[in-house]
Symmetry: D2
Subunit: 155 residues, 4 copies
């Protein structure tokens, strides 16, 4: 999960790396499926490592869908689909912050899901600190080995 | 799509065969994902042919999920998820009739989706006859070759 | 519940009368909330009798909303909102047939809701006959007194 | 919007007062509809001032519904209904913080809705400060006249 149109290049680089790691570990990368930001970068990473990607599309059409979605789930329900993203995931990895991302981390806390914040995003880290201390990231966000270890640990 | 708990053995046999054909053709089998009826039989058919299955789960948990689901999408939204089943499918294949199935065929007509009724289910065939004549099935439901040809034609 | 753009004048006249009866009996008229067909006519009837109307809007905006909606519920989830219409109603009254209406009657049968078909709509009556015999209408659709008695009986 | 089971007595007192003010101003109080916390307190306030209340129920049944709901909307879609709460409101008033409340404030920011935080809840105020400075509350949360003025200003 992560920023869409407003993602920084740094957000997208990290998302790409994590998409690759998740795919390498044999997991599916599930995102909001749109053709921008963290969603697209993570799925591109997964596809470059021959992984499988699922996109939970907010629209009732595919015109804003990323080309890196293998399995499109067309919900036609806008941001209400954020809850499906959360419920369908074994581990939520949130990169960057946007209102949509924050809603997903909040819903993930509510659904008692495991959450990993691999960067230094203040807002989501504060949320986790308050409600779910144990999943707060305390690691170097740019060390793939460390991220891989954490994903393994949490899934 | 098709009956759940109330599916007949005939419904399930046909669903199994069609699951196999869809998998053989390289398509994904998407169902409501529960561990009964047409859903489970179609996914079992797909898995026996090494296909990929997606289950759009109505619950917010997996206790009623079929073991033949590869990719579970946990919606937690009950029968409102029927519309996601429909929007996410390229071709709707409906077997047997139940209120849930009829709602899906009706939503598929509304969403202007291609629909195939491979058996002699009066209710869904009547629906198609009235609203979308061209997709009414006029073929031997028990001839796999003929069903395969129709799936190819419609997708 | 009932046809939208494709409603006949007869559908709309009947919806208007029933909207009035429901309001007179002190019940709320809940519809899909759009500015056409059976939805709008039923709510206009209710408002002409000083009733209260709720519109469950499929869009995430109000540009297609009827002016006769008192309380708009903006779902932004398209036809998936049909299930909310059904779950939120004590008695489903379906007028005319359209794919959307049929999906709602099917979902209402699934949710074990009371259903009244006040006209001679073959498709929905067939559905009820098959799955829920007791609620099939066997009355003069154009006698307001008789409809009123049935609504009282079923709520 | 606000905390459910974990609401403090202070949260509930404030919610009650605001429910009264909203009703007095002639607006409808819309909440998540459950029988606890900020939701119930706000609706009780509205009813004590003869207002109208709408409850957007997450369940597909009414066993956890507040007795102060006039118009229950039964969604059966769990926390995905939070987006309906947001889209259906002209002004979001958030009291206290819980993961659900934070998800609603985040979705409200995304939907570009007006938001009022009448207490000193750090998490939601931080969210608004970052994404939507203009709606941050800078007023005495316990002065009903001031809250009333702000509600009038924002609606």
């Amino acid at each position: 999960m992560g920023s869409g149109e407003n993602a920084t290049q740094e957000n997208k680089n990290l998302a790409y790396e994590i998409g690759k790691i998740v795919a390498k570990l044999g997991y599916i990368v599930l995102t909001g499926g749109r053709n921008c930001g963290v969603m697209e970068a993570a799925m591109k990473g997964a596809k470059d490592y021959n992984g499988t990607t699922v996109g939970i599309i907010p629209d009732d059409h595919t015109s804003r869908m990323s080309e890196f979605v293998d399995i499109p789930i067309i919900t036609g329900m806008g941001s209400a689909r954020n809850n499906i993203n959360v419920l369908s995931s074994d581990l939520i990895i949130a990169i960057g912050t946007s209102p949509g991302t924050i809603s997903e981390v909040a819903l993930a806390i509510k659904a008692n899901k495991k959450i990993l914040i691999p960067d230094n995003s203040k807002e989501t880290i504060e949320l986790l600190k308050r409600y779910k201390k144990s999943y707060v990231s305390q690691f170097n966000p740019y060390d793939p080995m460390e991220i891989e270890k954490l994903i393994v640990k949490y899934t």
